[in-house]
Amino acid sequence: MLELDQVRRSFGDRTALDGVSFGVAEGRLTGFVGANGAGKTTTMRIVLGVLAADSGEVRWDGRPLGDDVRRRFGYMPEERGLYPKMTVLAQLVYLARLHGVGRATARRRALEVLDRLGLGDRARDRLDSLSLGNQQRVQIAAALVHEPLVLVLDEPFSGLDPLAVDVVVAVLREQAAAGVPVLFSSHQLDVVERLCDDLVVIADGTVRAAGTREELRARFARARWSVVVDDDAGWLRDEPGVTVVELDGPEALVELAPGVDDQAVLAAGLRRGPVRAFHPVLPRLAEIFDEVVR
């Protein structure tokens, strides 16, 4: 378990992080969402020791995180970059060795990771001869090559083509399934929604919401129902305690006031004709995000 406890950091007069606390559990994909400048990258840099915190603590298994443990983390920074003139294999071996892996193991792991990411035949090419999409895959390989204890990925999907997004999603799921805590940031809320088990929402340097995806959805769920009838659903506007959020011919999204019986609304519909669908709707991540950040 990776934990951040009341981490603060300011740059000059500007407070970037104001007491950030959350946890990243083993075997879970934790999505880290927030607007640009909310503090995602600063938080991740502090976890990796690239930046120092003004106060607060990062803990691993309940103990303050030391350099020897931190070296075994895998990191993909937002600012991508590798050695353009080195071959793909040589730089992966070099990076693995910097993380403390022996030479023979480093080489074997590098080839395995490249195969997994579909770059096995490019191992001996110079990085700058690869397409940008493939360079991004090498960047992800660089975060994985030393079999990291924890994975921290800053915007891992930006710049990836859809095919590569699928490959990376699969690889992250494998890592989590193998017990690795994975923290990844993204501003693409649909990808986060599809992928993450846990969620941390940050705004203006403070954590606004954190928990499992289901918890957050339930917590921010407003009583919304999707209704589909055969013809016009406009009658819903006249039902007491019902607010129509969206209306498109026979389909409607409605919000029920507290205490209103959903079955009474269904019965009212059935009196007018067939009801094809009537079910509660959990909020989408984008909606939760809008609400907590506002």
């Binding site: 690239v50 120092a52 990191y75 920074p77 600012e79 970059g81 050695y83 990076l95 060795r97 403390g100």
Partner: protein
């Protein structure tokens, strides 16, 4: 840091150093310039010998003129008559002839085709005795050559490998790979690896150049031509040059790394490396300018930035210095190097992750 981490950290420094060296050795410009330098040194030693083509052959008629000719450093060839000797000069069999001549005050006449070597003329003539009231301490050739040789060697090696440290640092900043590196290894390990890699290559190159120069001297027989009392002084100077070079390189290496870390793009490197270049070049010019023994050269031999050049130069031109002097100068240099490297490590740490524009020293000094 616990005891178990230390061997690992040392191993990491070596991993970084190996990459630095591998990159440099694969750099075509670096390899070509190194080979050109070796060829130039070898040529400077061998070509004059080839052009000279051995001692003059001189035709003589009798044993007494043969002795005079050999005393002048030429090879005597005895022929039968004066006409034979003249014919041999005309045909080019010999370079000159020395014949008896009653009209000459020395009793000898030198016969040549177009010109004759002055040493032959001097050797067969009667020179007046010479008395010098203030003889020079050392061969003027040596007093000019030694500062130039040590100075040029230190300056070119420092500049070449120092710039390569700065370039390697800024390249990692420019390509942004530095953030992954810093997340994996302590910044100081990274710095130490770069300095070790460049330093090892610099020492290797110096050793190869010295081997070619000394080997060339031995092979071409020019070492015999050096004054006998110069050799011990020269070898002492070369021996002391090694530790002075290592400490002097270290002193500057940290500054080169800081110069690289302060900028974000390789194009901006000139603005921060110029002061470091001056720190390399000014002591060199000072030492070459003050080439005669005296208080100025003695002072320069203790100043950390000029000591690596000035102390070995003093050892040659003064024919040896008391052993406490290089020890004290080396201690001063090493102490200064430690202070500068520690300060440089902090500046490097403070500026390495600042991208966009050039970082001021004040910003770099603050914590990251």
């Amino acid at each position: 840091m616990t005891g178990a981490d230390r061997p690992a950290a040392r191993g990491l420094v070596w991993v970084v150093a190996r990459r630095e060296m591998a990159v440099k050795l694969r750099d075509r410009a670096f390899v070509v310039s190194g080979v050109v330098m070796l060829v130039l040194i070898a040529a400077a030693l061998v070509v004059p010998v080839l052009l000279a083509g051995g001692p003059d052959r001189v035709a003589v008629l009798d044993a007494s003129s043969a002795a005079a000719v050999e005393a002048a450093g030429a090879e005597a060839v005895t022929v039968g008559t004066a006409d034979d000797a003249t014919a041999a000069v005309r045909s080019g069999d010999v370079d000159a002839a020395v014949l008896p001549d009653d009209a000459s005050p020395t009793g000898l006449r030198v016969v040549g085709l177009e010109s004759v070597s002055s040493s032959l003329v001097l050797g067969t003539s009667q020179a007046s005795p010479v008395q010098l009231l203030e003889p020079a301490d050392a061969d003027p050739l040596v007093t000019v050559f030694a500062p130039l040789a040590f100075g040029v060697l230190f300056m070119t090696t420092s500049l070449l490998f120092g710039l390569s440290i700065a370039q390697s640092v800024v390249e990692e900043k420019q390509t942004r790979v530095v953030e992954i590196l810093v997340a994996a290894v302590p910044v100081r390990t990274l710095l130490a690896g770069k300095v070790l890699g460049a330093g090892a290559l610099a020492i290797a190159q110096t050793a190869v150049l010295a081997a070619v120069a000394l080997g060339g001297l031995a092979l071409t027989g020019r070492a015999d031509a050096l004054p006998a009392d110069l050799l011990p002084a020269l070898s002492a100077a070369v021996g002391w040059y090694v530790p002075f070079f290592v400490a002097g390189f270290l002193l500057l290496a940290g500054l080169w790394a800081v110069a690289g870390a302060l900028v974000s793009r390789i194009e901006d490197l000139g603005s921060t490396t110029t002061p470091v270049q001056l720190l390399v070049m000014l002591p060199f010019f000072a030492t070459v300018f003050v080439d005669a023994p005296g208080p100025a050269l003695t002072a320069l031999s203790f100043v950390p930035f000029s000591a690596p050049v000035a102390m070995p130069v003093r050892m040659v031109v003064e024919g040896g210095v008391p052993v406490w002097q290089p020890l004290v100068a080396l201690a001063l240099l090493a102490g200064c190097a430690v202070v500068v490297v520690l300060a440089a490590a902090r500046l490097y740490e403070g500026s390495l992750l600042r991208t966009g524009g050039t970082t001021s020293l004040g910003q770099a000094w603050r914590r990251r």
